[in-house]
Symmetry: C2
Subunit: 697 residues, 2 copies
Amino acid sequence: MPLLDSRTLEPRRTMSIEDLEAGAREMRAWTLIALQAAGSGHTGGTMSIADIAAALYLAHIKHDPADPKWEGRDRVFWSAGHKAPMLYTALGMAGYFDEMPVSYHGEPLPQFAHIRGVQECVLLRKLGSPFEGHPNSRKLPGIEVCSGSLGQGLGVACGSALNAKIYGQDYRVYCIMGDGEQQEGSVWEAVMFAAHYALDNLVAIIDDNGLQIDGATADVCNVESLAEKYRAFGWEVIECDGHDMAAILGALERADAIEGRPALILADTIKGKCVDFAEDVVGYHGVPPKDGRYGDESLDAALRCVGATDQFPPERVDEILAFADDYGRLAAARADAEVPKFGRDWWWNAGEDMQVEMEPTRNGFGRGVAEVGADPNVVAHGADITGSIRMDWFYKPDTKTEDPERKRRFVSCGIAEANMATVAAGFALEKKTPFIGSYGVFATGRNWDQLRTTIGYSHLPVKVADAHGGVSVGPDGATHQALEEIFLVTAIPGYVMFVPCDSLEAAKATKAAADNDDPTVVRFAREATPVVTSDDTPFEPGMANVIRYRGSAERFVDAFDTVLASDYASEDEDLAIIACGPMVPEAMRAAVILKEEQGLETRIVNLHTVKPVDADAVAAAARDCGVIVTAEEHQVGGMGNIVAGAIAKANLERPVRLDMIGVQDRFGESGEPWELVKVFGLTGEHIARAALDLMGK
Amino acid sequence: MPLLDSRTLEPRRTMSIEDLEAGAREMRAWTLIALQAAGSGHTGGTMSIADIAAALYLAHIKHDPADPKWEGRDRVFWSAGHKAPMLYTALGMAGYFDEMPVSYHGEPLPQFAHIRGVQECVLLRKLGSPFEGHPNSRKLPGIEVCSGSLGQGLGVACGSALNAKIYGQDYRVYCIMGDGEQQEGSVWEAVMFAAHYALDNLVAIIDDNGLQIDGATADVCNVESLAEKYRAFGWEVIECDGHDMAAILGALERADAIEGRPALILADTIKGKCVDFAEDVVGYHGVPPKDGRYGDESLDAALRCVGATDQFPPERVDEILAFADDYGRLAAARADAEVPKFGRDWWWNAGEDMQVEMEPTRNGFGRGVAEVGADPNVVAHGADITGSIRMDWFYKPDTKTEDPERKRRFVSCGIAEANMATVAAGFALEKKTPFIGSYGVFATGRNWDQLRTTIGYSHLPVKVADAHGGVSVGPDGATHQALEEIFLVTAIPGYVMFVPCDSLEAAKATKAAADNDDPTVVRFAREATPVVTSDDTPFEPGMANVIRYRGSAERFVDAFDTVLASDYASEDEDLAIIACGPMVPEAMRAAVILKEEQGLETRIVNLHTVKPVDADAVAAAARDCGVIVTAEEHQVGGMGNIVAGAIAKANLERPVRLDMIGVQDRFGESGEPWELVKVFGLTGEHIARAALDLMGK
């Protein structure tokens, strides 16, 4: 009884098992094309949930694509938000996008007026598209809530289900989770809650494919037996083959009939299902088919695997991908248009000289943790994204080969950041130097109370790798772009926080973290950014560097002098730019623009340590220059307000003009990293423009 | 084999079952006296854990009080930190304090040179004493880690136990938890982790007394069957009578013999055990005997119950309490000495005129939520401290009688703040207005990622009661004194945050929160603070008030004019004080001092909305006055840096002198509320002194 007309409650469409199997096949195909067009995204989990998604959206749940907010609809919460592409495809197949024009940041694009419906899903992860890397309920109909940070959906589902009980509504609530996700303690809070309230209008579905990013769930942090655990928590557990359409439908019907307790459908699935080269392969968690369009592990091979080549012959795939490409070009152009214009193109490596190398700051962390890992008292922890943040270089010091002695000192914690923090505290108490890490949202936010009370209040030397800071994380979108950590960490007494400007400085900061006795956070980014220091550049924790542009050079890095702020003699520059992290290279580029186009001299203050802050360097910059631009790839004010406070408290005898560059109090979004840097106003050109505005030029 | 000499490994003392029972009796007595002397603290849980504590510290574990950091010692982690008084007593009985002089903030006090050992524990919760409301490992030997925020200890114990496995050490690890604590998801992360690593050197002990603050655990959010749950998670479970010494020792021995998996001792206990009037009584969770020294529910009655009157006859109790009182007076005097001196005593209600009433701001929240609760679409959530934060007034609108219709809209979540946030998100999605709340550390920190991603990113109108903000929380100490929420909340896009200045404004802020469509946090305090507004005082969200002192009056509140900042015409005052929360009354008192003693005119800006901030009012104050003191009962800079940023970005053509009053980047501590306000530099006198220093006076 799915796909109702919400006014008449008559079915809009009824599908047989065969129809649903064909639907799942088509959904897999669309999803694979979307992943290919995006160039990133999750093949493994989308393929494993495909049949369940088809069963729910095309057959089992009450809903009306023409009336997405219909109060009588059944609710489906995708707690495992990274499976979003299959959610989009399911909604598209059900008809949710039939009337929705192709748009860029909400603006309809008439050139794509002929495209409607499920095809729009191939705009996955593109700048300006509503098909973000993780589901955004504010941008698309049919999505109940934003998700992407694991372990939160079941609680939302509980609230929705209890609402129906209290207010006498008869919709049913479904929640899709992964098996690795069961490592998050918040899931068990919700499991306990649902049983306590006897939420028999709630059905949880675990896509139990046995794999997570770091490996087999049984190896990373074993969650089995999930059936026994849920039963001990008072749930009814129904096990089924998650790729047998009749079995899925039967399980859903049985679950709906349970009274007096919530029901779990434990669906035995295969990660990457139907794409033979991706089936049960750990490496296919978060990437599209590898060989591009053609090859052994290509999109075309994948479409053959799922049996969709009749429906998607090469010429049709060409056409679909061309649409995605066209949209991507438009988005890139729109992003370019956001960058303030100057006399020439000053972009990275745009000219013959001033060449710069790019490397992700995370690689610097990796080299740093590999180096300090030589000390047998250093211990490293993983939270299922070990390779992504380069924590694995701890036990693969050559970045390739596992060192068994070091591997023994690597503590795999699974997706349980709160526990990881307290486990590390235990090691710190035993005089070890523990590193923990994850994407910044999870590494400093999900475990904030643990960082505060167990680690901070006890003042234990736990070291936190705060990875994926900034919008330059790219296509994963807002949920994975940490923009708040400077607020979170500097709030806690006794913490040291480094925000290194490039990969070399990231390695130095990591080593400094290992050397001090304080809880210490190193914030770094995902994308390759310019290397603007050398091995000889000074790095003193708690002391800023001053960087000065001295004239064009063949290599960008050679065009600047860098000294410790305490060693710097004022040149009474026209302005100062105070920056941290990847905004330091942008500040340097701004200095070049301001000098070459306007003859202005800029003092760049690299505030690589945001706590304790070098208040003297900040005050000196304000006193000597009188014009300050702060720049951070972070919610504006994280570093900027600290700078403003230091200036204010210095009680200078002169007025100071100040502007702050940063993310202007909004969430990130999906897009290519450098597109986002442009759209969020984080380029050297934006800094230069702000400086000129401050000076009335 | 307890109480070893760590050099010879010879026992220092061996105790029989009878000795241990006598020890437990004495520990109960010391603990009850300490609670009485403190005037607050946890009778219920300390009595229920007493026998287990005696068994561990006096008999079972390997440790040497003369060498507290001995590497070979067994570790005991008290995850349930609120049972600290019994931990202190156990350590004292074991001899940990035999060589420790009585001290104030680490300074030995020669007048108490004759007092040593367990008697020092009666300094519980006193300012300057190391016996804080919750355990502080930096202040006392024998405490492994700071605790007090539930659900964190088992993870630390796991880290310690895994360290022993990796590094080949043979100590054993114990972790004491409560049954209510099992509602925290982080516990289940650690339970899973311990099984994954087969930590058979780890023994968890649950003091399963069946009660928590809000009622029976089974009613608040049922955790049973804990035995089945732990078994399903792969643990060995040993059940025992937690008040039978032989049974406890037997269970500990059996637990130590388990191989290949961690062991849980599920100890069946009675909350308040041995104190008959407190046994199994919910109301005795967090208070000492009620009738003071004598009466039906008094200390003396309690000592009789536990059979300790022979050992503690009245005259001995007198002497012990007198010691605690003497210490308390000394601490109060030390706190007074921290307050800057002026021509006369300007303290609250010190004179005949300028009388002020005091009421806790939490009561204002209670009245507010009671009022908005008349709307059937308002839903309230509890996290086991429902009464303490006044959330219960939602369903007891007269503060006494439960309204059944409203009670149906009250969602008891247990100690599971992360899940509470997501459950509320579910209600918000269903067009309800959900209120959640807890102590600020837990209500904005423990669930930060949920506030960010599920609620903030989806922009759901969840309303957060951020209670117990500030050091004025008092004797509970640092773990329960939230000082970081302005950083945490203002970091998230789209949030509104109110920090009302008194109980009347707290009610207005609560109603404003119910009325808007945004995620909204209302921060308020525990202790009674001056009521400095009236029902007619304007309250416009997002707009500051300007308060001006107009001359002495009978009632403090009548001595001031208060208008919306946008309606205020500058009087070119000598300085401005920008404050929020309970620092607004202190700012008003500072204005009185500055006027009456120095003839200075002060503009007080009540920044009750810290997000969105009234940048115009801030900039105007800086422009018109040139001298600014910010004042917040929070880590300094939470509001102060926002103010500094607003001033800096206003690009005024004049220099501005600024200082910030707040907690100076350190954790709170135990003490009486007003003592702490003085010691942490948060009085009107401190504000006035800072202003005069800024002006060179």
